[in-house]
C-alpha cells in the first residue's frame, strides 16, 4: 500500500511501532424489530461498545457464532450500514459512509456480470474518474498479482467461484485502500479451493503489504490467516477477547499447521470462548 501519513500521534496508541490503520471505537448498533403480532417494537442490541485496532500490514480476524454481528460490524466499517454510537477511524480520521480508503471483498464475489474480469477490477477506479489508460494498467497489474492475467477478457460466468473471488480481491485492491475488509470471502468455496485461496491471500498480503480485517466463522481459517483474532460474543455482540496468534512470518500450510500443539491450543481456547455446539473442536 502506498498511502503514507506522517501522523506520528497515531503511533503509540499501542506498544508496537506500527501505525493504526483502522480504529473501531466503542461502536454500538441496535436494530428495531417488530414483534410477531406487529404491534410492539423491540430493540435488539446487535453490537455493544466494540473497540479494537487494526495495525498496518496486519491481518485481523473477526470471529464469533452466527448472530454475533460480525458481518454487521464489517458493513458498518465499510459504511454500508450506519452505527448508533461510537466512531470508525481510518488512518486516524473519523469516517462516516463509504470511502476510497477502504476496499470491500464480498461474501459472494458480487462481480458485475456484464463486465469482463479486467473491467470489473477497474470498476472502483472508473468511479473515481481515473484515466482509462492508467486504470487498465493498474487492473492488469492486479490481475497478475492474483494470478489471473490470462483471464482478463473473460466474463464472471466463465470463471470458477475461486477465480471470481480472486477478481473480487483484485477489484478491492485496485483502489489502493488503507485497509481491505473481507466478509467471509471463502465461505462459499469448496474446501480445496478455500485452502489454495487462503495461501494465496497470505502471499498477496506479504507482496502488497496490505492491511486486512477479515470476517469468518471458520476457526482454522482465522488462526491460519491472522496476526490477531477478535472473538465476539453474541446478544449483544461484544468483544470477548483479542488473541495474538504466534505464527508470525512464514507459515507452514494449513494441514501442517493444524497438527501443531500451539494451533490446537488456540483453537481450543477460542472454541471455549464461543462455546458453540455448531463448531466442534478438532480432535
Amino acid at each position: 500500500m502506498t498511502i503514507m501519513t506522517n501522523d506520528e500521534e497515531i503511533v503509540g496508541t499501542r506498544p508496537a511501532h506500527r501505525r493504526v490503520k483502522l480504529g473501531v471505537r466503542k461502536v454500538s448498533k441496535t436494530f428495531r424489530i417488530r414483534s410477531e403480532d406487529g404491534k410492539t417494537q423491540t430493540h435488539l442490541n446487535v453490537l455493544r461498545d466494540i473497540s479494537f485496532d487494526v495495525e498496518e500490514n496486519e491481518i485481523v480476524s473477526l470471529i464469533g457464532e452466527s448472530g454475533c454481528g460480525k458481518t454487521t460490524l464489517l458493513r458498518i466499517v465499510q459504511g454500508l450500514m450506519r452505527h448508533d454510537a461510537g466512531a470508525i477511524e481510518v488512518d486516524g480520521h473519523a469516517v462516516s459512509g463509504p470511502g476510497r480508503d477502504r476496499g470491500f471483498v464480498f461474501q459472494q464475489a458480487s462481480l458485475l456480470p456484464w463486465r469482463t474480469a479486467q473491467s470489473n477490477v477497474e470498476f472502483g477506479l472508473e468511479i473515481q474518474g481515473v484515466d482509462p489508460k492508467i486504470r487498465a494498467e493498474r487492473a492488469k497489474q492486479l490481475l497478475r498479482l492474483v494470478g489471473l492475467d490470462q483471464a482478463a477478457t473473460r466474463y464472471p460466468h466463465e470463471l470458477s467461484g475461486g477465480m471470481q473471488q480472486r477478481i473480487g480481491l483484485a477489484r478491492a485492491m485496485a483502489i489502493d485502500p488503507s485497509i481491505l475488509l473481507m466478509d467471509e470471502p471463502f465461505s462459499a468455496l469448496d474446501a480445496q479451493t478455500r485452502e489454495v485461496l487462503q495461501r494465496e491471500l497470505l502471499r498477496i498480503q506479504a507482496d502488497a503489504k496490505t492491511t486486512i480485517l477479515f470476517v469468518t466463522h471458520d476457526l482454522d481459517e482465522a488462526i491460519y490467516l491472522s496476526n490477531r483474532i477478535v472473538v465476539l460474543g453474541a446478544r449483544p455482540g461484544r468483544v470477548k477477547e483479542i488473541i495474538d496468534v504466534p505464527f508470525a512470518g512464514e507459515r507452514p500450510d494449513l494441514p501442517v499447521l493444524r497438527g501443531s500443539p500451539e494451533f490446537q491450543e488456540i483453537r481450543q481456547h477460542i472454541w471455549q470462548l464461543i462455546g458453540n455446539q455448531s463448531m466442534p473442536a478438532h480432535t
Binding site: 465499510q78 463509504p98 459472494q108 468511479i127 460466468h157
Partner: protein, 280 residues
C-alpha cells in the same frame, strides 16, 4: 442403406453415428439426433396434411402443394411481396417505437416509487385489457390508413416492454447495488453503471414478449382496415373462398413471427449471456 431419400439417409446417420464419432463429439450428438427427429416429424406432418387434405372439400382446407402453387402465383403477381413489405413496415416501426417508449417509461417507473404508485394501476389495467378491442375506436381516431395500424401495434407491444423494464430496475440484486455503494459511487453513477445494465436482460425479455403481441395487433388492424398488408390479403381471399391463397399470408405471418422471435432471443442471449449459462 445408401439410398438417397431424405428419411433413409437420416436413419442411416442415426444408426452409424455411435460407432463413427470421435469421443469429443459425443457431447454434440444428442442435439444432432434431435434435429434428425425433428426433420422426420416435419416431413411426416406435411405428408399427412397433403394426403388427408385432398380428401376434404377444398373450400375448407388446402394442402401443401396447392398452397405452394398459390404462393408462386402471388409472388409472380407481386401481391405477396407488396403485402409482406407493408406489414413489415407497420410491424417494425410500431415495434421499435414501442421498445423505445416502453424502455424509457419503464426506467422512470422502476426508479421512482411515486411515479410507480401513481401509474401502476393504469399500466396493469391496460396490460390486462385485450387492447385489440379498441381497434374500432382507433380507426375512428386515425382513419383506415397506416397510422391506425401503427398505433395498434404500438399500444399492444409497449406494455410488456414497459412492465419488464420497470421490474428489472426494481429487482436489481441488492448485492450488486452494494458494490456501487461500497466503492463510494453516487446515486446517479449507481443507476447508470449498475441498475441500468442489470435491467437490460429484463428489457430484452419484454421485447421478446412484445413481438408476439405486436404481430397480433398488426393482423387485427389489417383485418379491420382491410386495405393492404397480409391481414387484408387473408380477408380478401377468405371472401373469395380461395382457401389455398388464403393460407399463403397466414404462413407468411407464421414465418414472420418465428423469425422475429428467434432474432429477439438471439439478441437476448447476445446482450446478457450470463443469464443463460445454466441452460447451455
Amino acid at each position: 442403406m445408401k439410398q438417397s431419400t431424405m428419411t433413409q439417409t437420416t436413419e442411416a446417420t442415426l444408426a452409424t453415428a455411435p460407432d463413427t464419432e470421435v469421443e469429443e463429439l459425443v457431447l454434440n450428438k444428442p442435439t444432432r439426433r434431435y434435429w434428425a427427429v425433428r426433420m422426420i416429424s416435419i416431413f411426416t406432418v406435411l405428408l399427412a396434411w397433403e394426403v388427408l387434405g385432398r380428401q376434404v372439400d377444398p373450400l375448407f382446407i388446402a394442402w401443401p402443394t396447392q398452397i405452394g402453387a398459390a404462393a408462386i402465383d402471388m409472388i409472380h403477381s407481386g401481391e405477396l411481396v407488396g403485402a409482406f413489405l407493408e406489414s413489415m413496415k407497420t410491424l417494425t416501426l410500431g415495434f421499435v417505437l414501442a421498445s423505445i417508449v416502453g424502455i424509457a417509461l419503464g426506467l422512470v417507473i422502476g426508479r421512482y416509487r411515486y411515479v410507480d404508485a401513481s401509474t401502476d394501476w393504469l399500466v396493469n389495467a391496460l396490460y390486462a385489457t385485450p387492447l385489440v378491442a379498441i381497434t374500432p375506436l382507433v380507426i375512428l381516431w386515425f382513419g383506415l390508413g397506416f397510422q391506425a395500424k401503427l398505433f395498434i401495434v404500438f399500444i399492444l407491444a409497449v406494455f410488456p416492454v414497459l412492465i419488464n423494464t420497470a421490474s428489472g430496475v426494481r429487482n436489481v440484486a441488492p448485492h450488486l447495488v452494494d458494490v456501487g455503494v461500497a466503492f463510494a459511487a453516487n446515486e446517479r453513477t449507481i443507476f447508470l453503471k449498475i441498475i441500468l445494465p442489470a435491467a437490460v436482460p429484463f428489457m430484452m425479455t419484454g421485447i421478446r414478449l412484445g413481438v408476439g403481441r405486436a404481430i397480433i395487433g398488426m393482423v387485427v388492424a389489417e383485418f379491420f382496415t382491410a386495405i393492404n398488408g397480409l391481414g387484408a390479403l387473408i380477408i380478401k381471399y377468405g371472401n373469395q373462398f380461395e382457401t389455398a391463397a388464403m393460407f399463403v399470408p397466414i404462413l407468411s405471418l407464421m414465418l414472420m413471427g418465428v423469425v422475429y422471435t428467434a432474432i429477439a432471443m438471439r439478441f437476448e442471449r447476445w446482450v446478457a449471456p450470463w443469464r443463460f449459462t445454466d441452460s447451455d
